[in-house]
């Protein structure tokens, strides 16, 4: 049982990074449906850099850079040129998939070098890992899982305890009002779209460096869309995003687990659950109509000062 929960954390960590990335992006008022593409870009660049340099840190930097560049392109089109968010995001996904699949054909089937595998091997945290039940699940993991926990704390503090975070929420909630109070809306949007993209890239690299340390076609396999769903599931709250990511990670591997226990439920039916749950959450949160559970007010609305 502990083994299953620990595996759920590993399956949920790429989702967590991408979800936090999309959450930050949406807090700036931009719905980026390019998550799947950004994850693919991060996955391939992280993989290739890791393979060539044998250096785990460089691989991570590469993945972050790939996500940043992809999302900067999205930012340029949607912030500066005010292109439609949905269409631009979908196009970014097509681009990212093509990009990864093209670069990936030369490394198809290559395996991540041992030095990197070693670096990303589970490292128990002293004391914490000895806590019964919880220790083996949460604190005998790899370094990026711990980074994920840390990111949740940092993003929460940033959004709710800092001036910058407050400004960011203002930009996403009501760009015109934020602008009037002297916040540079364009700069906030660019910065957070790019940070968000970098996190999506990192989520992708987790898949190609740790989860499946062999390059294979379409390694992300729809996880980007689950991340988009998770942001809503989490009602734009980083802590709920953590819970949701591990929950959906658990669902992701549940079918195979059950089958090994002799219970035959198709994984494809279980795969429907994250999406179905998200729909239910959307309905419930609309019903409750609580402000903190709702999407940022200006989500997907392009802002143009002269049209105010």
């Amino acid at each position: 049982m502990e083994g299953y929960f620990a595996a759920a954390i590993i399956a949920g960590t790429p989702l967590l990074f991408a979800t936090l990335g999309e959450l930050i992006t949406e807090k700036a008022g931009h719905l980026n449906l390019g998550v799947e593409g950004l994850m693919m870009m991060g996955a391939i660049i992280g993989f290739i850099v890791g393979l060539r340099s044998q250096n785990p840190a460089l691989a991570i930097v590469g993945a972050l850079a790939a996500g940043s560049i992809g999302s900067a392109l999205y930012g340029f089109l949607t912030v500066t040129l005010r292109a439609n968010h949905v269409v631009t995001g979908l196009t970014l996904t097509v681009f990212g998939q093509g990009f990864a699949s093209f670069l990936g054909q030369n490394v198809m089937g290559s395996v991540i070098p041992a030095s990197i595998k070693q670096f990303f091997a589970p490292k128990p945290i002293p004391l914490l890992s000895d806590i019964p039940f919880l220790g083996p699940i949460f604190f005998r993991q790899d370094i990026l899982v711990y980074c994920g926990y840390l990111m949740v704390v940092l993003v929460t503090l940033y959004l709710y305890k800092t001036r910058l975070g407050l400004n960011l929420r203002a930009v996403g909630e009501n760009a015109a009002a934020a602008d009037a109070s002297g916040i540079n809306v364009t700069a906030y949007r660019y910065v957070h779209i790019i940070i968000g993209g970098a996190l999506c890239g990192l989520g992708g690299a987790y898949m190609s460096l740790i989860t499946v340390p062999v390059w294979q076609e379409n390694v992300i396999a729809g996880r980007g869309w689950i991340a988009v769903a998770l942001v809503i599931f989490a009602s734009w709250n980083p802590i709920k995003a953590l819970i949701g990511a591990f929950l959906f990670g658990g669902l992701n591997i549940l079918g195979f687990r059950l089958q090994s226990m002799g219970i035959h439920i198709s994984q494809y039916l279980i795969d429907m659950l994250p999406y179905a749950t998200t729909i239910i959450i959307v309905i419930i949160s609309t019903r409750k109509n609580k402000k903190e559970d709702m999407a940022p007010g200006d989500l997907s609305n392009p802002y143009f000062r002269e049209e105010r």
Partner: protein, 357 residues
């Protein structure tokens, strides 16, 4: 950025608009060409081969038309929703549910006469696609839930469900372990006219019908008004919930019809990859057509050339499909970016700044 002054254009002369569009497409071709060259191919040969592959012979032209048909019909469906500013990005799922219903009919009643069977399949597909769009529309109309996410999620539920059927209960027992759903009887397959299945006639008819519906009927007018301003519509005494639900049912119904056509004429069965991204591509084509049904016809044909050309260079030049995807995305990035210059005017005004100082 003070030296740049951006203002909204009031009216853009059509000539100038066309010039901007052509310029953006040319620029995108140049840029895509640079990328192709960087990947180690000759861009001129690649482009020439794409055009040749899409339009160069009767068979290839037919292949292009086969790709244009689902795009046109799905785009018309998406148009219905977008007219109301209802962001239906659930085309994929609606196509799948349509195909699923059509397949159910085709497999249950394989011996009905061809016209009857095809008609029942089409109706079933439209109802199924319509219901798949009705669900988010109902919640949007009644409670104001966010339809973008709702429709997006329904895509994956539909695709996973079809995958489940394909690997589980609907799996063809005679296919020796290969996970596929049984193929249709000949009566369930659309007939062809001019080497292409009659979907092309259906698509053309629907372009005309949707054009008339949107521009010349009361319901169509109401949909446009709801899209322009819900407040205006409410003030005019329109029943907004009913308009949203009707329009979305039609929207999903058209996408569902695409599913039936693809299942019947292309796949001749149901597969989990049947929607082939048409539901997503149609969002782009509809947007680029600026919600005009006649423009949809042309944009979708252009897109079909791109898709078929991309498929052709895989065979003729051994260029992987991924390159075609990247070319498609680069072209779109430019076209999306150019929309800005159609709507806004950028002036350099260093002079005015000096005066202000």
């Amino acid at each position: 950025m003070n030296f740049l002054k951006i203002t909204k254009r009031d009216d853009l002369p059509p000539k100038k608009a066309t010039a901007i569009r052509i310029l953006s497409i040319l620029l995108s071709l140049v840029f895509a060409g640079l990328v192709i060259a960087a990947l180690g191919y000759n861009p001129i040969t690649v482009f020439a081969s794409m055009v040749k592959g899409a339009l160069g012979s009767k068979i290839r032209l037919q292949q292009t038309v086969l790709k244009a048909i689902p795009l046109v019909i799905t785009s018309l469906g998406i148009l219905m929703a977008f007219k109301m500013k209802f962001w239906n990005i659930g085309g994929e799922g609606q196509i799948m549910m349509g195909a699923l219903a059509a397949t159910y009919v085709a497999l249950k009643m394989p011996d009905l006469s061809r016209p009857v069977l095809l008609l029942i399949m089409a109706v079933a597909a439209m109802v199924a696609g319509g219901i798949w769009a009705f669900i988010p529309a109902y919640f949007k109309g009644k409670m104001g839930t966010n339809e973008t996410i709702f429709t997006l999620m329904l895509n994956y539920i539909a695709i996973k469900f079809v995958t489940y059927l394909q690997y589980g209960p609907w799996r063809d027992p005679s296919s020796q372990g290969f996970p596929k759903i049984p193929s249709f009887s000949t009566n369930a397959i659309l007939p062809s006219i001019g080497g292409v299945h009659i979907g092309w006639i259906i698509a053309l008819l629907l372009v005309a019908l949707v054009h008339i519906f949107i521009n010349h009927t009361k319901k169509g007018y109401e949909i446009t008004v709801v899209g322009e301003s819900v407040e205006t519509a409410r003030y005019a005494g329109m029943n907004i919930t009913s308009i949203i639900i009707t329009a979305m049912f039609l929207s999903g119904g058209l996408c569902g019809l695409t599913g039936m056509i693809q299942a019947s004429a292309i796949e001749k069965t149901l597969t989990s990859s049947l929607s082939a991204n048409y539901g997503f591509t149609a969002i782009t084509t509809t947007w680029l057509s600026r919600l005009n049904s006649i423009a949809i016809l042309f944009v979708c044909c252009a897109f079909a050339v791109l898709l078929q050309g991309g498929a052709y260079i895989q065979i003729s030049m051994q260029i992987p499909a991924s390159v075609a995807d990247m070319i498609q995305a680069i072209l779109l990035f430019f076209v999306l970016g150019s929309e800005f210059f159609l709507q806004y005017k950028v002036n350099f005004h260093t002079h005015a700044k000096k005066e202000a100082n």
